[in-house]
């Protein structure tokens, strides 16, 4: 692989025209890629990297310190009360060809004081994009987001969740892909070829917010005969028509959501990844100060079929009580027709939330939300607040509490004693 790279660079005069900094950046990115991922990915990415003269590359990113402090005595003896961790997420970006082509590299690493599983690294992005008038080709490791709702992201399926980062499921693992987007008057049609599967991350034995026994990711079961080498496919049409944003998608391949089974000596929970077909719809419209949102999926797999939806609104009060601050009221209904058999805790739940935006120089924001289960009265409370300090620092605060979670079948049951406060101080460069 490295020889191939050497060959490529020596036969590419444009590459040699770059300054040392940029060359080093590309070389480092590619070397990292080769070390972490399959040779086929590396060959594809390297071959797709075309002439890169006149590129203007730049580094940015952040380094952060995080403290998680749990309110209650741990449920399991290996767990701790407080967890300290540090993370880094640098970014390297350059574009050329008048902005028609670009290259993005975002590695990520976290080191956790106690949880060996949470100490992990990932390539969030390592991708090349080429844009023309009527199409865009995006290849490499990327992150793609689909959807409109706030409480959960049903339709979003391209990337695996980096669940060990945060239970809000908004952190994702990089996914290898070739994505062709056709951009026409009738909307954007995206085709995805997704070689290789990423397993969801789970807390280790010493981590909080885990199941008992812990999830054993060394004995994962796949329906696909080629296991995590299965190539998944997806297609999505999206468009905006006046005040409406619409997306219709279909995915065929290995489900990002595992089904859990317990091993024979009951010492570990085994994740099972089925082959599924999932059709998704996302819909959003603006009516004055109201944003109306709907996400729906229909999924077939493991000889099962189910439907789930999230729908609701966000209403914004601008300049409340004669200030510059805005208050957004959010409410969503979460439904899953598998009922108690659902692999999600949100099968018949209501989310109520408020987003308070100060619109000040420090961009202070507070988002508070409560999801309550209509059937068993369980509550999940979530508060996220952030404020910039000076020009380069940012303070993030999160509080999560679990109450009335008494049903053994509730996927949140093992986290019932895991109320916590998380403080993160990040430095941006």
């Amino acid at each position: 692989m490295l020889n191939f790279f050497a060959l490529w660079t020596s036969h590419n005069p444009q590459y040699c025209g770059l300054d040392t900094m940029k060359r080093r950046g590309i070389k480092w990115a590619l070397t990292k890629l080769i070390m972490t991922f399959s040779t086929s990915t590396a060959v594809a990415t390297t071959a797709l990297l075309p002439t890169i003269c006149n590129a203007s590359g730049e580094w940015s990113g952040n380094v952060a310190v995080e403290v998680r402090s749990f309110a209650h005595t741990p449920s399991f003896s290996d767990q701790h009360d407080d967890y300290l961790s540090i993370s880094a997420q640098p970014e390297y970006f350059f574009e050329w060809d008048n902005g028609k082509q670009s290259f993005l590299f975002i590695p990520f690493v976290r080191i956790d004081q106690h949880d060996k599983e949470r100490t992990h690294a990932d390539i969030r992005e390592l991708a090349w994009i080429k844009a023309s008038d009527v199409w865009e080709l995006r290849a490499g490791i990327r992150k793609v987001f689909w959807g409109v709702t706030e409480s959960q992201h049903l339709v979003d399926i391209i990337n695996q969740t980096d669940a060990i980062e945060n239970i809000d499921r908004e952190n994702k693992l990089g996914q290898t892909m070739i994505n062709l987007a056709l951009i026409q008057d009738w909307g954007t049609l995206d085709f995805f070829v997704l070689p290789g599967f990423r397993e969801r991350t789970f807390a280790g034995r010493e981590g909080r917010l885990r199941t008992q026994p812990p999830v054993d990711t060394d004995n994962t079961v796949y329906e696909a005969s080629n296991k995590n080498k299965h190539t998944d496919l997806a297609i999505r049409w999206s468009h905006f028509i006046g005040d409406w944003d619409v997306g219709i998608s279909h995915f065929y391949g290995t489900s990002r959501d595992p089904r859990f089974t317990i091993n024979t000596d009951r010492s570990a929970i085994i994740p099972n990844y089925d082959i599924i077909n999932q059709t998704g719809l996302s819909l959003q419209t603006v009516v004055n100060d109201w944003l109306w949102k709907l996400e729906m999926i229909s999924r077939n797999g493991h000889e099962n079929h189910y439907t789930a939806l999230t729908g609701g609104f966000e209403y914004t009060l601008v300049g409340i009580i004669n200030t510059q601050a805005d208050l957004g009221i959010i409410s969503e209904y979460l439904y899953d027709n598998r009922d108690e058999a659902a692999t999600t805790p949100f099968q018949n739940d209501i989310m109520l939330g408020a987003r308070f935006t100060l619109n000040d120089v420090q961009s202070t924001e507070i988002l508070a939300g409560l999801i309550f289960d209509i059937d068993n009265n369980g509550h999940l409370f979530n508060l996220e607040a952030s404020r910039r300090l000076g020009d380069a620092w940012k303070l993030n605060l999160e509080i999560r509490t679990f109450s009335n979670i008494n049903s053994l079948n509730d996927p949140l049951y093992s986290s019932r004693n895991d109320d916590h406060l998380q403080i993160e101080l990040a430095w941006y460069f």
Partner: protein, 260 residues
């Protein structure tokens, strides 16, 4: 007697004609002329440095790159990319301004790779914590206001029209604005904003206009002072570039996701 009548009529009629234009009509005519003179630039890009100053004079800086596309018979399309503060780097804002219906606005959040639709009634809200509201910086379409010419005067040595304008869109943070329009450039030199209670809220002053493509005037500097909070914001514009060959495609949601 008859002769005298005729004479009087001859004397008066032309004057009546001149007086036939009401202050409202004259105000509108000035706005239409200003719009006409600033039509045909097709597209432009520019760099913006915002300096935010609090009551104590402490400064914070923001850097934004802007791309704009002129749209015939409607508001312009704008794509703004934030370079600093560093924590919002890569955040991009896409807006289609409209003269009669609410604007379409989307925000791209790079950390989540998410494009969020924004309810555009938020026009009166501050732009990035500055003293500029969204409605102060989006494209100024004729239909967005009704007008009334007040008088002609000299402002800082320039001949100007003084025109009052009243936002015709709901959700504006203002009841009226008084504008000092330069008679040569048909561009504002000063705007005073009055809040919902009718109190004098802010003053915006334009400096160092330069002409591009031998036709279009753009200021290098704008100063907004808030009279109630004593906070101020300076906008420094640079690297204006026209004829970039932008099309609608450069202002769609795919481009929003690519913008950096």
């Amino acid at each position: 007697m008859k002769k005298r009548m005729l004479l009087l009529t001859l004397l008066i009629i032309p004057q009546l004609n001149a007086w036939a234009e009401t202050p409202e009509e004259k105000g509108l005519a000035i706005a239409v002329e200003a719009d006409k003179q600033d039509t045909g630039w097709k597209d432009q890009q520019s760099e913006l440095k915002m300096i935010l100053r609090n009551r104590q004079g402490q400064e914070t800086q923001r850097n934004i790159r802007n791309r704009q596309l002129e749209v015939d018979n409607d508001g312009d399309k704008t794509l703004s990319i934030f370079d600093s503060p560093r924590d919002v780097k890569g955040t991009a804002f896409l807006s289609y301004t409209h003269s009669k219906v609410p604007d379409d606005q989307w925000l791209f959040l790079p950390a989540l790779k998410r494009v969020k639709r924004i309810s555009s009634n938020n026009k009166s809200g501050p732009f990035m914590g500055s003293e500029f509201a969204y409605e102060d910086i989006t494209s100024q379409e004729v239909d967005k206001y009704t007008y009334k010419w007040l008088n002609d005067e000299t402002y800082e040595g320039n001949d100007v029209f003084v025109v009052e304008r009243y936002p015709s869109y709901k959700h504006s943070g203002y009841t009226k604005q008084i504008t000092w329009i330069d008679k040569k450039m048909y561009q504002p030199l000063k705007i005073v904003f009055y809040d919902r209670k009718g109190a004098k809220l802010k003053t915006l002053t334009y400096y160092d206009y330069k002409q591009y493509l031998n036709k279009f005037w753009r200021p290098d500097r704008m100063e907004m002072v808030n009279h109630l909070t004593h906070k101020s914001t300076t906008l420094l514009w640079s690297k204006y570039k026209f004829d970039n060959g932008y099309t609608d495609r450069d202002f769609d949601r795919n481009s929003l996701k690519r913008a950096r």
